[in-house]
C-alpha cells in the first residue's frame, strides 16, 4: 500500500469515528437538550415577552409595553418591602450561616474523638424536610407556650414574640437557617481536614500562633470552598420561600393562601421577593407583572453571581495556580 493510500484510509477511518462520536454525543444529550429548550430556554424568552403584557392565564396576553416595569419601579408599595427583606437575608443571613458553619467545622477538625458522631448530630437538622423543621421552630419559639420562652421564663426572662414580632421574625428565621447548616458544614469540614498538615506544622515552627496559622494557611487553602458556599448561599437567599411561607402562615394561624394578609406576616416582615412573586403569579394570577418581577430577579441573580465571582479572584487561591 502506498503511503498516500494509507494516509487517505486513516483519514477516512478517523472521519468515520469522528462522525460516530458526534452521533453518540447527540444521542446521549438529547433528553437534556429537549429539557433545556422546553423547560429553560423557552421559558426565559416567554417570561421576557409576558413581562410586557397583561396576562391572567384565562384570556390571552395583551401588549402593554413597559407598564409592568413602570409600576414595579415607581408605584408598587409592596415590592420595596420584598426587596428590602431579601437584601436583609443576603446581608445578614448568608454571612451568619457561612461563619457559623466555618466555626463548627474548625472546632470539629480539632476534636480528637467523636468526629463521626458530632458530624451526624450537626448534619441531622439539615436533613429534616424544610416544612417539618419550620413547623418545629414555630412551635419551639411560640411566644405563649413554646419551650424556648418556657425556659427563658425559668430564668426570669420574659421571652419575646419571635415569629410574631415584626423585628424578630427575620432573625428567628436566621436561627432556623443556622440549625440547618449541615450541608455547608460538611463541605467546610472536608476542606479543613484537607489542609496539608505539613503546611500547618511548618507555619507553627516559624512561630505562627493559631490565629495567624488560620489566616495564612487554612483560610487560603479553603477559599475556593468558601467562595462556593457564599455563591450558593446568595442564590438560595434570592429564592428563600418555603421557610417564610410556612412560618408566616402557621405563626399567624390562618389558612395559608386564602387570605392575602397571611403572606409576609407579621406586618410584611417576612414578605420576601419570591413570596411576593408567588402571591402575584399564583394567588392573584397577575402573570404579566410576575414575569416582570422574575426578569428583575434574573438580572439581579446574574449580576450578583458575576460580582462575587469577579471579586473572588483577589482572595480565592487555587492550589497549583501561580496566583
Amino acid at each position: 500500500m502506498s503511503s498516500e493510500a494509507l494516509v487517505a484510509a486513516r483519514r477516512g477511518a478517523r472521519r468515520r469515528s469522528h462522525w460516530r462520536r458526534r452521533r453518540s454525543v447527540a444521542l446521549l444529550l438529547t433528553p437534556w437538550a429537549i429539557g433545556f429548550t422546553v423547560f429553560f430556554a423557552y421559558p426565559l424568552v416567554a417570561s421576557a415577552y409576558f413581562s410586557f403584557t397583561h396576562y391572567d392565564l384565562l384570556s390571552s396576553q395583551t401588549w402593554i409595553g413597559l407598564e409592568n416595569y413602570e409600576f414595579l419601579f415607581h408605584h408598587d408599595p409592596q415590592i420595596w418591602t420584598a426587596v428590602q427583606n431579601t437584601l436583609w437575608l443576603i446581608v445578614f443571613m448568608v454571612p451568619s450561616v457561612v461563619l457559623f458553619a466555618l466555626g463548627i467545622s474548625l472546632l470539629m477538625a480539632r476534636a480528637r474523638r467523636g468526629l463521626g458522631v458530632m458530624r451526624t448530630i450537626f448534619y441531622l437538622p439539615a436533613l429534616a424536610p424544610i416544612v417539618a423543621s419550620t413547623l418545629g421552630f414555630v412551635y419551639l419559639f411560640n411566644p405563649a407556650t413554646g419551650p424556648v420562652n418556657a425556659i427563658l421564663a425559668k430564668f426570669g426572662i420574659e421571652g419575646p414574640l419571635w415569629f410574631n414580632s415584626p423585628t424578630l421574625a427575620k432573625p428567628t428565621l436566621v436561627l432556623l437557617a443556622m440549625w440547618a447548616v449541615g450541608n455547608t458544614m460538611i463541605i467546610f469540614l472536608a476542606a479543613v481536614l484537607d489542609v496539608p498538615t505539613s503546611l500547618l506544622e511548618s507555619a507553627e515552627l516559624d512561630g505562627a500562633g493559631p490565629l495567624r496559622r488560620f489566616i495564612h494557611v487554612t483560610l487560603p487553602t479553603i477559599s475556593p470552598v468558601l467562595l462556593f458556599a457564599i455563591v450558593v448561599g446568595v442564590i438560595d437567599a434570592l429564592q428563600y420561600f418555603t421557610q417564610a411561607y410556612v412560618a408566616a402562615s402557621v405563626a399567624q394561624g390562618g389558612q395559608p393562601g386564602e387570605s392575602v394578609g397571611a403572606l409576609g406576616y407579621p406586618q410584611g416582615s417576612t414578605l420576601f421577593y419570591p413570596v411576593y412573586l408567588y402571591e402575584q403569579a399564583f394567588t392573584r394570577f397577575n402573570m404579566g407583572y410576575a414575569s416582570a418581577m422574575s426578569m428583575v430577579m434574573l438580572v439581579v441573580a446574574l449580576a450578583l453571581t458575576l460580582l462575587i465571582l469577579r471579586n473572588s479572584r483577589r482572595w480565592v487561591y487555587y492550589q497549583g495556580d501561580s496566583r
Partner: protein
Amino acid sequence: MAASAVSAPARSRVRSRPVRRREILYSIAEHSLLIALALCFLAPFAFMFLTSLMTNHQALSTNLWPEPFQPQNYIQVFREAPIATYALNTLIYATLATLGLLISSVPAAYALGVMRWRGRAVVMVLVLIAMMLPEQVTIIPVYVIFSKLHLVGSVAPLIIPNWFGDAFSIFLLRQFFLTIPSEYADAARVDGAGELRVLTGVYLRLAKPAIAAVALFSFFACWNDFFGPLIYTGETPAHWTLSLGLAQFRTLHQVQWNLTMAATLLFMAPVILVFFAAQKVFIEGVTLTGVKG
C-alpha cells in the same frame, strides 16, 4: 527547609510546660463548646418528641415533660388527616422523578465529562447557568405550559421535567466522572466498545457511589419539595404531598401542637432512617458538591 524538617521533632519535645498547659485548657474549652453546641442542635428534636407525647391540654401549657404520656397521638394523626394518601402521592412523585432524572442525567454527564468533542465547554456553561438561576425565573411559562396541557392539579408537572435532565445532577455526576482515569474508557474503546457500552459497562460500575448520592439527593429533594406541590396541587387536596399536607395540618387543626409535632416527626423519620442506612454515600455526595470544577 531541610534544616527545619530535621529540627522539628527536637523542638516540639522541648516545648515549655506553660505552653502545654495552655493547649490542654484550649482543648477542654473547645470540646465543651462543641458538646454544648451539639446539645443545642439536638434540643429541638427532643422538645418536639416530648410534645408529640403530650395531651393537647398539656401541649398548651409551659410544662416540658409529658404527663401522662399519650403515644396514641401517633395513631390519632392518621385519623385527623389522610396521611396515607399524602405519603402515596409523595412516593409516586419522588420515585418517578428520581428514576427519570437518572435515566436522562447520567448519559448527559457522561457526554460532558468523559467524551471529547467540540462545543462541550459551551454546553457545560449552559448546564451551569441552568443550575445557578433561581427556579422562579422560569416558573411562570412552565406553569402556563402545564396549565395548557391540563396537568395542573396533579403531580405530573413535578415529575415530567425530571425526565429531561437535571442540571445539578448532571454537574455532580460530571464532577465524579472527571475523577475516573480516562485509561478505563480508552481500554474499553480499544477493545471495540462503543460509547454506550463504555458508559454502561465501565462508568456505571465505577460511578455507583456518585449515582447513589444523586439518587438520594433527588429523592430527598422531592420528599422536601414544597413550592412545586403548592403551585401545582394546592387546589386539589387529593393530590397533596406530605410537605403540603403537613403545612396545612396545623392550620386545619388550630392549636393541636401535640398532633402537629407527631405528624412532623413522622414526616422526618423516613428521611433520617434512610440517612443512617446510607450515611457514607450521603456525606461523600455532599462533599462532592463542594469540589471545585
